[in-house]
């Protein structure tokens, strides 16, 4: 038997039927992620990164290929792969606490008090205990996403999936949430796959930046290891040589090698 990584994608292809015949979104993707690794998936809009994340989440079925998590085949969604959605997707009729509570009740055994404390603990990690009884509509975008993060990590997932989690936020809020994610990651050491199209975000947060080629039939173009030591501080890191070089490589990939779909068709 092959020695697989913790999370292993083997030959993943996704084809959607359309009116003009089948459309291949992803073509033969192989990706191996070790336990505790933080991987950023980056690529232009429409390159199929969300599709790939949904395949790992089990929300989209791969047309070909298999996803293994800890040696088991993944074929359906489950709370062991928590997703942080771009639009936070908190349930508007539940309070902050109830939203997290719903996830905890699904994933955690133990007494009421234990579950309650676990909900509070995770909301503390994102600094949202002040809003326990509030409904999502009363919160700002950044706060909602903090709760979304708390909900996901409260599920103690084996893999944490983030689908452009900060895409809808302004730059300052985004920075503070990135810091929050780095903080939490230092404590929990989750295995994370994050989709982004922000180069700085990818390099700052991730251990590896996986760059995807343009669709259709997108695949992995380059896989860059970011060797920056942790904990990372956004101001110090910005001046380091490793950071600047990693950033330059990703930019080069996105804006020269795969700048637009026409180049991709020629390649």
């Amino acid at each position: 038997m092959k020695n697989r990584s913790y999370l292993a994608l083997e030959g993943i292809s996704v084809t959607f039927p359309t009116r003009n015949g089948p459309f291949t979104a992803l073509d033969q993707i192989d990706l191996s992620i070790e336990k505790g690794e933080f991987v950023a998936l980056i690529g232009h809009s429409g390159c199929g990164k969300s599709t790939l994340l949904n395949v790992i989440a089990g929300l989209t079925k791969a047309s070909r290929g298999v996803v293994f998590l800890d040696g088991e085949v993944i074929d359906r969604p489950g709370p062991d792969r928590a997703v942080i959605f771009q639009d936070h997707s908190l349930l508007p009729w539940l309070t902050v606490e109830e939203n997290v509570r719903l996830a905890v009740d699904q994933t955690m055994k133990g007494s009421r008090a234990e579950r309650r404390d676990w909900v509070r603990h995770n909301l503390e990690l994102v600094h949202m205990t002040h809003a326990l009884g509030k409904r999502p509509a009363e919160l700002s975008g950044g706060m909602k996403q903090r709760v979304g993060i708390a909900r996901a990590i409260a599920m103690s997932p084996r893999v944490l999936l983030m689908d452009e989690p900060f895409g809808a936020l302004d730059a300052l809020t985004r920075a503070s949430l990135q810091d929050a994610v780095m903080d939490i990651q230092a404590k929990t050491n989750n295995t994370v796959v994050m989709i982004t199209h922000d180069v700085d975000e990818a390099v700052l947060l991730a251990d590896r930046v996986v760059m995807m080629t343009n669709g259709p039939a997108a695949t992995i173009g380059e896989d860059l290891r970011v060797g920056l030591p942790r904990p990372r501080n956004r101001i110090e890191v910005a001046e380091s040589r490793d950071y600047i070089q990693a950033r330059a490589e990703v930019l080069h990939f996105l804006h020269q090698r795969f700048s637009n779909p026409a180049d991709q068709a020629a390649a």
Binding site: G78, P79, A82, F85, L91, A103, Q106, M155
Partner: protein, 319 residues
Amino acid sequence: MLSTANAVATFSHTPETADDGESEAVVAPPSPAPAAAAPSKELPVRRLPRIVEAAGEAAATIFPTLVVIAALLAVWQFACAAPTSALPSPSRIWTESHDVIMHPLKGVTFHGIVPSVEDGDVGIAVHIVTSLRRVAIGFGLAALCGIGLGVLIGQSRLAYRALDPLFQVLRTVPPLAWLPISLAVFQQAQPSTIFLIFITAIWPVILNTAAGVQAIPPTYRNVGKVLALNPYQYFVKIMLPATVPHMFTGLRIGVGMSWLAIVAAEMVQGGTGIGFFIWDSYNSSLLTDTIVALVWIGLVGFSLDRIVGWIGRRIAHQS
């Protein structure tokens, strides 16, 4: 034109009771006519407690309606003033149907708070309650089945394709067209009336619930999937709360339609109920009684609509 003054005075009774608390608290002299209520609330409002302010706002909302009603009554009174007029004037209604207007609870005796109804000639409120009871049963069944079927066709594409065309055709059938079938099947007046209510009210409930289920944002579905909620949990925790606003739109339309249907059904079948009351008064050439019944029907229908709407808002806020 004593009768004109009489009619207007009758009606101006309502505004005074409506904003009594307000006008008396705001200004010392109680406004004799509704026209005086508007200027009276302008000046002192700023320094007054919140409740008075709220009452003032309510009065400002109601006031235009009252003016229109008063004007309509006046025109009606003027147009139908002749004793030979086919349509009775408001003042004639007041005099001829005095008993019906003033004794809606005729035939009801109270033992403590428990009412008991005598047989025979009863007041209009008793007829209304009889009709409401039928609506409660028929509409209750329609709400249950309608929400069930709505969830089914909203959730399953196959069920939608199979059933939606059927529903779309059936919902256009007027309530009374069901009556012969209903009578033939149930043989008795009571169950067939209830069936009529049911079959009238169920369509908007089904179709609105289905639309609500179909409109659940895909991200909520994904949350349900990621959390691996079982179908029952998904129904209770996500589908139901997400669909409540649509559901209550359907229920609100449904309750209005069942009120339309009950009156029609009772008119045809006779015996008891507000529909029967109308038919009976028509047969006895008591057109004024019919008009009184019309007002009752309108007010009760309006209240039903508001009650269902209010419950919907309460549930939407809580869940």
